[in-house]
């Protein structure tokens, strides 16, 4: 099980997905290509490339040799990003970022509590002031307008 084989398989899957999804788009013809024409071409190309990768993948790095040591940490950070994407418009920029920064500094990085608070408050409120009030780039406020 090498990385090339896994990624090749992934590419083939993506290609097949696109081929399936583009059924709704008219193909047109070679002289008047429709919206579905190029996606189909690219999907076929991708499948071909994926197959080549799988076929020649025997000599690539083994999957097991890939190090995932930082993965748990990365997942936590990812969780923060997802949290921001889903909730920032509901609970407002300042609160969201306060929570995220507090989490990252305090829990993940185990920085001293007082420093965590100062940094979290400082950055979330400070950047909000900088962008929203000074630069007039509105940042989301939550339902109680915070």
């Amino acid at each position: 099980m090498t990385i090339d084989r896994v990624s090749g398989a992934f590419l083939v899957l993506v290609g097949l997905f696109v081929v399936w999804e583009r059924r709704v788009l008219p193909l047109g013809s070679a002289s008047r290509p429709g919206p579905g024409y190029f996606p189909l071409l690219l999907a076929v190309l991708l499948i071909v490339l994926g197959v080549i990768l799988i076929a020649r993948g025997k000599n690539a790095k083994k999957l097991r040799s890939v190090s995932w040591t930082e993965a748990p940490h990365a997942v936590a950070i990812l969780g923060c990003c997802v949290f921001v994407s889903l909730l920032m418009e509901t609970i407002g920029y300042r609160l969201t970022l306060l929570l995220i920064l507090g989490f990252l500094f305090g829990v993940m990085e185990r920085i001293k509590p007082w420093l965590t608070l100062v940094l979290s408050f400082g950055f979330s409120l400070g950047t909000f002031w900088l962008f929203d009030s000074m630069l007039r780039v509105p940042l989301p406020r939550g339902w109680w307008n915070f």
Binding site: P35, P113, W114, L117, F121, R136, P138, W144, N145
Partner: protein, 330 residues
């Protein structure tokens, strides 16, 4: 260890700050407006809507005594911003400046069998700000001196004359097709990524004609690189008095304006709309606004809400009919 004493103090201060902020927002309950107002512009900066919205926001700020901030929310020909406005809270703090293409989107969705991104009745009109008829512009190297020449040539070689537009079902596309339908001719449509690229295509000789806003075309008309044959208005343009309207030339059902209007979500309470209408009426009289619009050669075509609604309904009818005539392009 200092941190033992500092820590509770910091917590207390922080909590007080948060509570103070929240309390401040809650206490200022009325009268409207008590905090900054956002105006969504569904088009990129520098476009027609943006250019009208910014001086207006500046003038409104003076009337309403609160910051009025422009938020560009672009995408899908304006649909992203318009949809955002349709679903925003009807408390008067999220408004929108949109173009005539607002009437076209739901119809195009219906044409493609998609759920409509919004409905026209999701919006309450506050005022019409500007309204420019489009003009028929051709390259000065072309042989057509009048609309009659153009139509005759188009009839001789159907589907050969190329025109550019800012995008499928965009203002330039619908306007031209409205005319083509009325004149019974068939033209070849080359969509581009926007008004700018469409004009470039004409200037570069890659297409033969287009129907576009007058103010971007005027410098090229004066320089002699393009020629203007007619306008889509009901009356002649003050900036181009020798240019006939298509209506004059006999195409009675052809009228097309690129207009910009000021909107709020439909459920916004009547008192707030009244405040906005009055403020807008005063804002369009402001000397700064007038001079900004004059410099852009965009005449102010102000209509208060009731007249605007009548104008909008009539215009929407025309546009919907034109889109239906175009049908699906591919």
């Amino acid at each position: 260890m200092k941190s033992k004493r500092v820590f509770p103090a910091v917590i207390t201060v922080a909590c007080m700050a948060i509570l103070g902020l929240m309390a401040g927002q809650a206490i200022a309950a009325d009268p409207y407006p008590t905090r900054p107002i956002q105006v969504i512009v569904p088009f990129p900066p520098g476009g027609v809507a943006d250019l009208v919205a910014r001086p207006m926001a500046a003038a409104l700020e003076k009337e309403l005594k609160q910051p009025v901030v422009i938020v560009n929310k672009t995408g899908a020909g304006g649909a992203v911003g318009m949809q955002a406005e349709a679903v925003s809270k009807p408390d008067g703090y999220t408004l929108m400046v949109a173009l005539s293409s607002i009437s076209v989107m739901p119809e195009v969705d219906a044409l493609f069998g998609r759920p409509q991104v919004y409905k026209l009745r999701d919006f309450a009109p506050i005022a019409l700000l500007s309204s420019d008829p489009t003009v028929l512009v051709v390259s000065s190297k072309s042989p057509w001196k009048t609309v009659a020449d153009f139509v005759a040539d188009a009839k001789k070689r159907p589907g050969e004359i190329k025109y550019s537009s800012s995008g499928v079902y965009g203002t330039m596309h619908v306007a031209m097709e409205m005319f083509a339908h009325s004149a019974g001719i068939k033209l070849r449509h080359i969509p581009t990524g926007g008004g700018g690229p469409a004009l470039n295509a004409l200037l570069g000789g890659h297409v033969d004609a287009l129907s576009g806003g007058p103010n971007v075309s005027i410098p090229h008309i004066r320089a002699g690189t393009v020629r203007v044959l007619a306008s889509w208005g009901a009356t002649r343009l003050p900036a181009l008095p020798e240019v006939p309207t298509l209506k004059e030339l006999g195409y009675n059902d052809v009228e097309f304006y690129i207009w910009s209007g000021f909107f709020a979500p439909a459920a916004t309470p009547e008192p707030i709309i009244k405040v906005l209408r009055e403020a807008t009426a005063k804002a369009v009289q402001a000397p700064d606004f007038k001079s900004a619009m004059q410099k852009m050669e965009t005449p102010i075509a102000y209509k208060d809400a009731p007249e605007f609604r009548k104008f909008w309904d009539a215009d929407a009818d025309r546009l919907v009919k034109a889109v239906r005539n175009i049908g699906k392009v591919e």
